[in-house]
């Protein structure tokens, strides 16, 4: 049985406080091996019995459920803020869909869709403060949105006009990082710097379930723990690393990884924006209070292909997706908003119009995106210059000029 199918079976939490959370106290880890090997559970049965429950505040049906530990973190949330979260998710999904279709139209070379992960990204992204710093992978379009990065900036690298099209320091949102796991160390180092500065900012490092296997991620856990760095490791377990299910990366739930490094791990329903908000806020609060790192595993689902180059029909069936569609992050908040009368038809209609406008703006911006000047190859290789780059730039210029002279070769 796979992690995701089992989770699909029981989407609701029962005992609020302790579900899916591990602490750092060794004294309380009573799990132990029996005296003889044969007593031990086999892998698959262990799997079944260890399936953890999720921190959840909103059921897939949009019902608000109580949680003793986390309610406090969303207690003061206003209807307007709830509508804001909904708007964030809808616009992010719209933006994402537009990018996917722009790829199909040949305007982008590639797109990595976040479809299905809106709640994990908006919930965590909205939990951050302006002075916090975020280290994304290549799929955090929703977090970028929360950080105020203009979404059209995200498209440059997918169109192939740059390798990262924004100033990370404008919004404290680092460039997308493609080499899996690398950014978790940057985040940890940055957080070490925050602590050195005596600031009470915090850092969020995003990574995927696949990334959890990279040595760099493990090393970032070690550094963060040893230096007690104010960093939240936010793992979106979307069940897949391209074609590999999470069980190719771990045989126990990922949030438990943290415990072995001496900091808490928690699994949250990644399709529940409220729960993601609350859990991330709590983790950030710990960081700010000097209590060190937390690992958050947002249990969610990559509804689309890995990227537009991927063909998921080769490795997974439709049933899985259908099961997850029933837990759609946007739908559940809409149900809640409607049931609680926090949003009316006008709101939804207006948002629809705003979505369309965003789509149009993105479309136009992409099409208007100029190809970079060819001399850009030689720019920014070094901050202080480099003789060889200068020489090659000059040769390139002379070479280019030779065509002009000859009127073509």
């Amino acid at each position: 049985m796979t992690v995701e199918s089992s989770a699909a079976r029981k989407p609701r939490r029962t005992a609020a406080g302790k579900a899916g959370t591990t602490g750092t106290k060794a004294g309380t880890t009573a799990g132990r091996t029996g005296a003889t090997g044969t007593q031990r559970t086999t892998r698959s049965t262990a799997r079944k019995s260890t399936e953890p429950e999720l921190v959840q505040l909103l059921t897939p049906e949009g019902k608000r459920v109580k949680n003793a530990e986390y309610d406090a973190y969303v207690a003061g949330i206003t209807p307007e803020e709830l509508r804001g979260l909904y708007r964030d998710m809808v616009l992010t999904r719209r933006f994402d869909a537009e990018a996917t279709s722009l790829q199909r139209q040949g305007e982008l070379g590639l797109w990595a869709s976040l479809l299905g992960q809106e709640a994990a990204q908006i919930g965590s992204g909205r939990a951050t403060r302006e002075d916090d710093y975020v280290f994304p992978t290549y799929r955090e379009h929703g977090v970028a949105w929360c950080r105020g990065v203009d979404p059209t900036n995200l498209l440059g690298m997918f169109r192939g006009v740059n390798n990262g099209g924004w100033d990370p320091n404008s919004n404290n949102f680092q460039l997308y990082t493609i080499v899996i796991g690398s950014q978790t160390l940057h985040a940890t180092g940055y957080a070490m710097g925050v602590a050195k500065d005596g600031a009470d900012s915090a850092v969020v490092a995003y990574f995927g379930d696949g990334a959890s296997s990279q040595g760099d991620v493990a090393e970032s856990f070690t550094f963060a723990a040893v230096y007690n760095a104010p960093v939240v490791f936010f793992c979106q377990n979307n069940q897949w690393a391209i074609s590999e299910p999470t069980e190719r990366q771990t045989r126990v739930p990922l949030y438990q990884r943290a415990q072995g490094y001496g900091f808490p791990g928690v699994r949250v329903d990644g399709n529940d924006v409220l729960a993601c908000l609350a859990v991330t806020k709590r983790a950030l609060e710990r960081a700010r209070n000097g209590e060190g790192p937390t690992l958050v595993e947002a249990f969610t689902y990559r509804m689309g292909a890995h990227t537009t180059s991927d063909d998921p029909t080769r490795y997974r069936g439709d049933e899985e997706r259908l099961a997850w569609e029933a837990k759609d992050p946007i739908l559940r908040l809409r149900r809640y908003l409607e049931a609680s009368h926090h949003a009316d038809e006008g709101f939804f209609a207006e948002l629809e119009a705003e979505s369309e406008a965003l789509g149009k703006r993105v479309r136009e911006a992409v099409r208007a995106m100029p190809d970079p000047d060819h001399f850009a190859i030689f720019e920014n290789v070094y901050a202080d210059g480099h003789a060889l780059v200068d020489e090659e730039r000059a040769q390139f210029a002379a070479y280019q000029a030779s065509f002009a002279d000859e009127g073509g070769h």
């Binding site: 970079p372 190859i377 060889l388």
Partner: protein, 325 residues
């Protein structure tokens, strides 16, 4: 017997043959199983040989190469895939300090017949880290053998030979040539793995290349022929060892050499070839060995790669410059 097939398919067939004929051969990597790899090079192999022979690994390149070393110590012959050139670096330590050196460290007692497959090079309009040519970073390291086929037939046979080799082989696959077709004859007698091949004879200048640039050099030779220049084209096939004898023989005839590769020129293969051939052919060369390759800059975004990569004009420009001496 011979069949026309794309290079990706030829490698697939070669892997299939190896899996079939030697139960110790394993395929390992990210997404190599059900998906058949992002380029489908391992397509269908897991289905036919099972999960214990064709292994989807955790997402950890050092782990992939490190466990492959352990499997080789146990008598297996792992063929590991690195998904893209730019992702080999997490495995670099295992490759350089372990895979390359264990045979020597053990005074010859331990053999590590591991093949590391790396789809490499640009020209496919990809995002960062998906278009690099890091072969020089491996060639400098003793204990590794480095090869790169330029066509489907070589891809097939060089893979057979790489798997049979008792040394670790880094097998660079020119991804932009994956879909180019050529005749593959599974009953042919292959050329030795580390010998260069003259793919076009000529008298005025030698173009030396490997992997993706061989085709470009052939096109350049065609174009030059129209201008009455006779270029010899050498497919080096192997970067370590490098068949200097073949280059020397050609240069002694043509007296001029241009080396072409996608990798940056600075500290690239062309430097080694130029240095050594100049030493070997000092009195034969009528012009300095010229190099055409990437610039000393990170591989640029897709919309700039045309300017970064060697192309017909840049090769011909170098040919003209050489002939002008």
């Amino acid at each position: 017997m011979a069949e026309k097939m794309a290079m990706a398919k030829a490698i697939n067939e070669s892997l299939r043959r190896a899996l079939d004929s030697d139960p110790k051969v394993l395929i390992m990597g990210e997404d190599v199983g059900k998906l058949g790899g992002v380029f489908r090079v391992t397509d269908g192999l897991q289905k036919d040989f099972g999960e214990s022979r064709v292994i989807d690994t955790p997402l950890a390149e050092s782990g992939i190469v490190g466990t492959a070393i352990g499997l080789a110590l146990r008598g297996y012959r792992p063929v590991v895939e690195i998904q893209f050139d730019g992702f080999v670096f997490p495995a670099y330590d295992q490759i350089v300090t372990q895979l390359a050196k264990m045979h020597a460290r053990s005074l010859g007692k331990v053999k590590l017949p591991v093949v590391v497959r790396i789809p490499y090079g640009g020209g496919i309009g990809a995002v960062e880290h998906h278009s690099e040519s890091p072969e020089a970073l491996f060639a400098h390291v003793a204990g590794l053998k480095i090869v790169s086929p330029s066509n489907a037939s070589d891809a097939y046979w060089m893979m057979q030979q790489a798997i049979q080799s008792d040394d670790p082989v880094i097998y660079f696959e020119p991804k932009r040539r994956y879909w180019d077709k050529a005749e593959v004859d599974p009953e042919a007698i292959p050329a030795p793995l580390h010998k260069a091949r003259v793919v076009r004879e000529g008298t005025d200048l030698t173009l030396a290349a490997y992997g993706p640039m061989v085709k470009l050099c052939q096109e350049a030779a065609d174009a030059a022929a129209e201008e009455g220049k006779s270029l010899e084209v050498l497919d080096l096939r192997s970067v370590s060892p490098l068949d200097f004898d073949a280059v020397q023989a050609s240069v002694e005839k043509t007296r001029r050499l241009v080396v072409v590769h996608e990798a940056p020129v600075f500290f690239g293969s062309g430097a080694e070839i130029a240095a050594r051939i100049t030493e070997r052919c000092f009195y034969h060369l009528e012009a300095p060995v010229l190099r055409v390759g990437g610039y000393h800059a990170p591989y640029p975004p897709a919309r700039l790669e045309e300017s970064y990569l060697p192309d017909l004009d840049r090769v011909l420009d170098a040919v003209d410059r050489s002939l002008a001496y």
